[in-house]
């Protein structure tokens, strides 16, 4: 036994340097980026870049806008994704396979192509508007694009798989007999869903939603194109600060705040998760 343990430790010893290198390699750039925000042009420590942020809080307002859009997009995703996953759970295995394939296909199509495809579908001259006008439901085209609605639709399309797949997997794992047991004890369908099914899918729902939210924060292409540039997101701002006028220190300060906000949200999620799990 001791020999086995020793051997294991020995084996681990072989990979330790690799792990250290990997950790360093992955995290050094991040640390460097973080440090940059406290680095003054003359050299040495400074908080001027942060002070600048709070003096002219427009970047913070863009950040707030990003958070708001991300929250709404996440909620939209949940509102679409949960019923979708639930519906898929009830399908025959064959139909489930097809449904999963449909959900995954967007993964294989370039985000740019997908985004432009929405223009074809939802534009003023797009298929949906032509159909609406042809059926006489509206006489003027409906503005689906170049506003927050467009951004929502685009984001939902891109991010839905990230929510639906883990949720669907979690739902598949739920034993039908639990619902049957609840029914046999006299619970009506509503109660069965609220007290048994929903709580059991809650961890997957929460982690899926968190993932979607964090991905939303970094969205770049979709808001730029489907939002008609009128929905400022933090990633577009960072692109400007890094690539147009290299103010890496300023970009670092903005990213650091974004990172802190994200970590706070993650911590809140963990705390909530632990409380629910206890």
């Amino acid at each position: 036994m001791a020999a086995i343990l020793a051997e294991r430790r020995h084996g681990f010893g072989f990979v330790t340097p690799l792990l250290v290198v990997m950790l360093a390699a992955f995290n050094l750039p991040i640390l460097y980026m973080l440090a940059l925000g406290f680095w003054s042009k003359q050299g040495g420590f400074t908080t001027e870049h942060y002070a600048a942020l709070f003096d002219a809080p427009i970047y913070l307002r863009v950040l707030a806008n990003t958070l708001r859009i991300s929250v709404v997009a996440t909620l939209v995703n949940v509102a679409i994704g949960y019923p979708l996953a639930y519906w898929m759970r009830g399908l025959s295995p064959r139909a489930q396979f097809i449904a999963v394939a449909c959900v995954i296909t967007p993964f294989w199509i370039s985000i740019l192509v997908r985004t432009y495809a929405w223009i074809v579908v939802l534009g003023n001259n797009g298929m949906v508007n032509r159909l609406l006008q042809w059926t006489g439901l509206t006489d003027a085209p409906v503005s689906f694009l170049y506003n927050e609605l467009g951004v929502m639709i685009g984001m939902a399309n891109v991010l839905l798989p990230f929510l639906v797949l883990p949720l669907f997997a979690a739902m598949l794992r739920i034993d039908d007999r639990l619902m049957q047991a609840a029914a046999s004890m006299g619970a009506p369908p509503r109660t069965i869903f609220l007290k048994v099914f929903l709580p059991l899918t809650m961890p997957a729902l929460a982690s899926g939603a968190l993932l979607v939210f964090i991905l939303c924060l970094g969205f770049y292409v979709t808001p730029a194109i489907l939002g008609g540039g009128k929905v400022p997101m933090i990633s577009n701002l960072l692109d400007f600060l890094i690539n147009q006028i290299p103010r890496w220190e300023q970009a670092s300060a903005v990213s650091t705040i974004l990172l802190v906000v994200t970590l706070l949200i993650f911590a809140a999620y963990r705390a909530l998760d632990r409380k629910v799990g206890a």
Binding site: Y59, K230, P232
Partner: protein, 339 residues
């Protein structure tokens, strides 16, 4: 174990030797540029004669931006000898010491417009930012008309770049072309806000503007000239348009042999015949004053440097933007949030 490492090391050394031949014999050279048709025009117009004369292949890589250049310098691995930069970003790059001063005596170019002959870059391609509209829409004569949404009704698309949008709003307010700079950003944004209900899209990619016009999402747009002049359904005007330049710059610390080869490439870029070939690929033009007679007669009105067009335009003030870009951008973000 040790032995194997040594062998691997030796193999790696040999590999390095293959990749980097003795500097005496330069076989290829890399350039980071913006890609697409523009990149193709570099191949057709300039790389072809350059390679024919020197035997050095030009390998293009795209896209590039200032961040990439800065990262390349910071990492100390100069993987490309030259970099395409916009006029504003070139000023930034100069201030950050990312590009080499050019040896114009060694380049010894054919005649070129003075603004293209920059101390730190070769202005190889003029492009204009102009007004364009659907042929079905009422044609504006000038920027006053473009911003008059009452008499020229329709949705507008404008660039999501303050440096390519704000000045036109000031022109519509009657500011003369030669008095634009220093730019009154607040006044320009106020004007833009006054027509916010008609601004449908702020575009980021050059291809968006013509597409939005063709899809009838907008009826009027501020667009890059090369993207709209050849569209049959669209009309355009260079009147009050902004001429700007794209520069090719030599990357700081590029190997001597490559810098020397770059000088030869710059020379090819100054030859009007070569520029005419490049203009056949994309409707942007090189900096030669002698280019007009070499361009196709029926298409002469499409090119930014054609005499009739160059005379009614003004030139972008990159120095001002390099100085004031960040504060202008803050105001721009604010403007976008209040749209």
């Amino acid at each position: 174990m040790k032995r194997r490492t040594l062998l691997a090391g030796a193999a790696a050394l040999r590999l390095v030797a293959v990749i980097r031949p003795a500097s005496a014999q330069l076989r290829e050279m890399r350039m980071v540029e913006s890609g697409g048709k523009s990149g193709e025009s570099i191949d057709v117009g300039y790389a072809a004669p350059f390679t024919a004369k020197t035997g050095i292949r030009l390998v293009r890589e795209s896209p590039g931006n200032l961040g990439k250049l800065q990262a390349m310098i910071a990492s100390g691995r100069i993987t490309a000898a030259s970099f395409e930069l916009g006029s504003g970003t070139m000023v930034q790059a100069r201030k950050l010491g990312l590009i080499e001063k050019l040896d114009w005596a060694a380049i010894n170019p054919m005649p070129m417009f003075p603004e293209a002959k920059n101390e730190f870059g070769f202005g190889y391609q003029y492009f204009s930012t102009i007004m364009a509209w659907r042929k079905a829409a009422k044609a504006p004569q000038n920027w006053v008309d473009f911003f008059n949404t009452k008499d020229f009704p329709g949705k507008r698309a404008i660039p999501d770049y303050p440096a390519y949008a704000i000045a036109f709003a000031l022109l519509s307010e009657g500011v003369p072309q030669d008095k634009l700079f220093p730019l009154d950003v607040d006044r320009g944004l106020k004007k833009l806000l006054s027509i916010r209900r008609d601004i449908s899209v702020l575009w980021k990619a050059g291809a968006q503007a013509p597409q939005l016009l063709k899809d009838n999402e907008v009826q009027y747009a501020i667009a890059w000239s090369g993207r709209v002049v050849e569209e049959p359904d669209l009309a355009y005007s260079f009147n009050g348009g902004m001429a700007d330049l794209s520069f090719i710059c030599t990357v700081k610390g590029a190997p001597k042999a490559e810098q020397e080869a770059m000088n030869k490439l710059y020379y090819e870029m100054s030859v009007p015949e070569n520029q005419a070939k490049a203009a056949g690929v994309i409707a942007y033009t090189g900096p030669s004053p002698a280019l007009d007679p070499l361009l196709p007669k029926d298409k002469i009105g499409m090119f930014p440097t054609a005499k009739a067009n160059k005379d009614v335009q003004w030139v972008q003030n990159a120095e001002w933007w390099a100085e004031n870009g960040e504060s202008a951008n803050k105001k721009w973000e604010e403007f976008k949030l209040s749209l």
